[in-house]
Amino acid sequence: MHGLINRAIQGFAIDTAGPDAWRRVAREAAIDPNQPFMPLMVRNTPVTHRLLQATSRVLEKPAPVVLEDLGTWLVASRGTAPIRRLLRFGGETFPDFLNSLEDLPGRARLAVSGLHLPAIRLCQDRDGSYTIGVDAPHRGYGYVLCGILRALADDYGTLALLDPPPEEPDAGAFGAGSFHLGLTLIDVSFAEARAFSLVGPERGE
């Protein structure tokens, strides 16, 4: 699993529950709490699974909730502002963004060449609602995407209803298997969108 993913879990745990909670998570997952994850270093998938399970136990939240909160945090927290900006390049409006969703794994790989995300399929039903499919093998990505979409709908000022699948005890949030998420747009201009410009503030050299 890519180092950025482990580091995102670490950042999320520290941001939402504090450094002490992170130390407990690290202890449960049998990793060194003082050693930050190297963003570009790929570690085994079991490390990521242990991390998620430990986070779920320490935060006392079911795994799907942890993953959804992680997705929301990726978009909405201050420390991950670059991710929110990169996602907003997906489209000028939330429907535009949804229509570019299938490009998301390609965009991620373009930004960080070793970052492989599962394929996403978007179907628009006859009544205008969407079904979003996330390919196997890691169901967890589906819940993260659910959190990302909730936070991005807010960012675009759109009111949308999301309908994640019920947690299947045998599949599990960390298990294999594909994932289907329903999404209905209620009001595209429900609130003012957060500002977004194509180029960020000038950086001091």
Binding site: M38, L86, F89, E92, V199
Partner: protein
């Protein structure tokens, strides 16, 4: 026909001599200009109009400075050859463009399609452009996405590099430090001595051995011995100046390197002070210990110095101190 033109996108306008309706041309190329045979801009795409209002009716050659082909000053010059242009606004901001000019089928004018090329990031910032200002097929947005992604990854990489550098410095610091006392270790002393010799400036080497230290270890245990070593290290650190080096070479052996200090009176005074401070009773783990120190000093005037011979001369002087009854400071014979 310029008088009847409306600038709002989407409203019906008479077809330009390109053969395409202006709104169609605009959807394909929002940064196009139609230039009449006399050089007058007849039609400007909506993004060009965002960069400069009122382009239509002005002379193309007064608005733009042609860099390639150099000296082009007429419409036939623009379309000559393959019509590949490099140009920029004459007024500020002097945004640079790449462009292709093609001759129009009738009337001797030209259709010029512009693009920002590599100046796109500055242009988007300066003119507050958004996705709608680019053609759907233009890769500008993907390019800006990549610029953004590069910045994000680079700033992460910079932070990480700083972290790793800090960790490396700390590791080297530990590698050059005596774990018990925090003074430099033998490796660090050897490096510093070599640097001083290479520098060719005068300096002194002061070798020191504790007297009666073995008795402390034997009588009161190693913990008390460690306390004595820590106390001695503190005394050495307190007596040296910035730029001097204090090292523990192992056991109860210490060494000072004193750049620029070669005056025998000053060195002798320093030796006496050190011995006097070390001879003060030391409280170590509930007991009081008494030790002293023997010192040997060798001086280098900076020319033809050799690290090994300097150390062995200082060592010889140290043994002379021991033989002469300990608790004293002896100078090595000659100079190196």
């Amino acid at each position: 026909m310029t008088a009847s033109r409306q600038s709002e996108f989407g409203k019906a306008r008479p077809a330009a001599p390109t053969g395409l309706a202006p709104e169609v041309l605009e959807r394909l190329m929002p940064m196009h200009l139609v230039v009449a045979a006399d050089g007058t801009i007849e039609q400007a795409g909506r993004t060009m109009t965002r960069l400069r209002a009122g382009l239509e009716g002005q002379s193309f050659f007064e608005v733009f400075d042609l860099r390639r082909p150099a000296g082009a000053c007429s419409v036939p010059d623009l379309v000559a050859g393959e019509g590949r242009l490099r140009l920029g606004f004459r007024d500020f901001p002097r945004t640079a463009f790449k462009a292709t000019a093609v001759p129009l089928p009738e009337g001797g004018g030209a259709l010029v399609n512009l693009s920002f090329g590599i100046s796109i990031v500055d242009a988007v910032r300066q003119y507050h452009l958004n996705a709608g200002d680019f053609a759907e097929t233009d890769l500008a947005i993907e390019m800006l996405y990549l610029v953004e992604a590069k910045h994000a990854v680079m700033s992460d990489a910079e932070r990480l590099t700083a972290q790793i550098y800090g960790a490396q410095q700390a590791a080297e610091e530990r590698a050059a430090t005596d774990a018990l006392t925090g003074l430099r270790n033998r490796r660090a002393l050897d490096d510093a001595l070599q640097t001083l010799v290479d520098g060719g400036r005068p300096f002194a080497v002061l070798q020191m051995d504790l007297d009666h230290f073995k008795a402390v270890n034997d009588t009161h245990g190693h913990a008390a011995g460690d306390d004595v070593l820590l106390r001695v290290a503190a005394i050495l650190s307190g007596q040296i100046r910035k730029g001097d080096i204090a090292a523990r070479l192992g056991g109860d052996e210490f060494c000072l390197l004193l750049p620029g200090t070669v005056d025998p009176d000053r060195l002798s005074a320093l030796g006496k002070t050190l011995i006097a401070r070390i001879e003060e009773p030391i409280r170590a783990g509930g007991v009081t210990c008494h030790v002293s120190a023997s010192i040997g000093v060798a001086v280098s005037q900076g020319t033809n110095a050799d690290p090994a011979s300097l150390l062995s001369r200082a060592d010889a002087a140290l043994y002379a101190s021991k033989h002469a009854g300990r608790g004293r400071c002896t100078f090595a014979e000659g100079e190196g």
